[in-house]
Symmetry: C2
């Protein structure tokens, strides 16, 4: 998978966090996922599908990270992963993918977005089914870490 | 959401289990999901996206159910949820959605399939982000239960 596919997701996520949650995240070097070690407490998953381009995106948050981000977005302190947090993860997943979709369309990679699905459960593990590479970008805010995983079929 | 959307997934799943795993499943009445009570130990999730039709499918298996199904598919006893089982859940998710896609296209609902994503983690919970209804179909084999959840944007 071309790294050109990854930067639009990275940029969109930083942009969503900055504008919606006044949160500045630092990120590590995007790398190819070779095992299943990135775990999350809540994950947003969305499919991307076009005639030639098929993919999936997962954003896996630790509890600390998503409680901080949701609290910032809502302007009130959120203390546990509840329905509001789950819905917010869906919103973030949609916004990040929507932002990346526009950029990727300019590069000739066109796809439609499916509906987001959210997973909750302490320390669950995400795996993708693809013949292509799975790229992981680790992010950190001072309240915890989260991971973006992107894969496409080529 | 029209129930016409659901039957192709139900038929495809029964067909996949019968032909690939020599397993006959019984199923309960499809119902609208009003809470998040269906939990699984391993789930396959896939997005569906077309110009007008957007959706997502999740198949959540209990450990007992997926170990039996995978053992039947491979012809050898599988005792724990490992990489092979995770991959098999991705295959099943692909096959069920591929089967349903053909039927739904005949009815004028056209979409492309995204790449499947698999989630492992004891008792995780799946939620969908949609303005439409989420339909749940409960299935049972003698080794355990599993759930299919389908939603579309209309």
């Amino acid at each position: 998978m071309n790294v050109d596919f990854v930067n639009p997701f990275l940029d969109a996520l930083l942009n969503v966090l900055a504008t919606m949650a006044s949160t500045k995240a630092t990120f590590g070097r995007p790398c190819i996922k070779t095992d299943n070690k990135s775990m999350g407490d809540i994950t947003g998953i969305i499919g991307m599908a076009g005639e030639k381009t098929k993919g999936s995106l997962a954003i896996s948050f630790s509890e600390g990270a998503i409680l901080h981000i949701t609290s910032q977005m809502l302007g009130e302190q959120v203390l546990k992963i509840d329905e509001t947090v789950v819905d917010m993860v869906g919103e973030i997943t949609n916004m990040v993918t929507g932002g990346a979709k526009k950029e990727l369309a300019k590069q000739g990679y066109k796809f439609e977005m499916a509906l987001p699905t959210m997973v909750t459960g302490k320390g669950h593990i995400i795996t993708h089914k693809t013949a292509g590479a799975i790229i992981v970008i680790p992010f950190r805010i001072n309240k915890g870490e989260f991971f973006v995983e992107v894969c496409f079929n080529k």
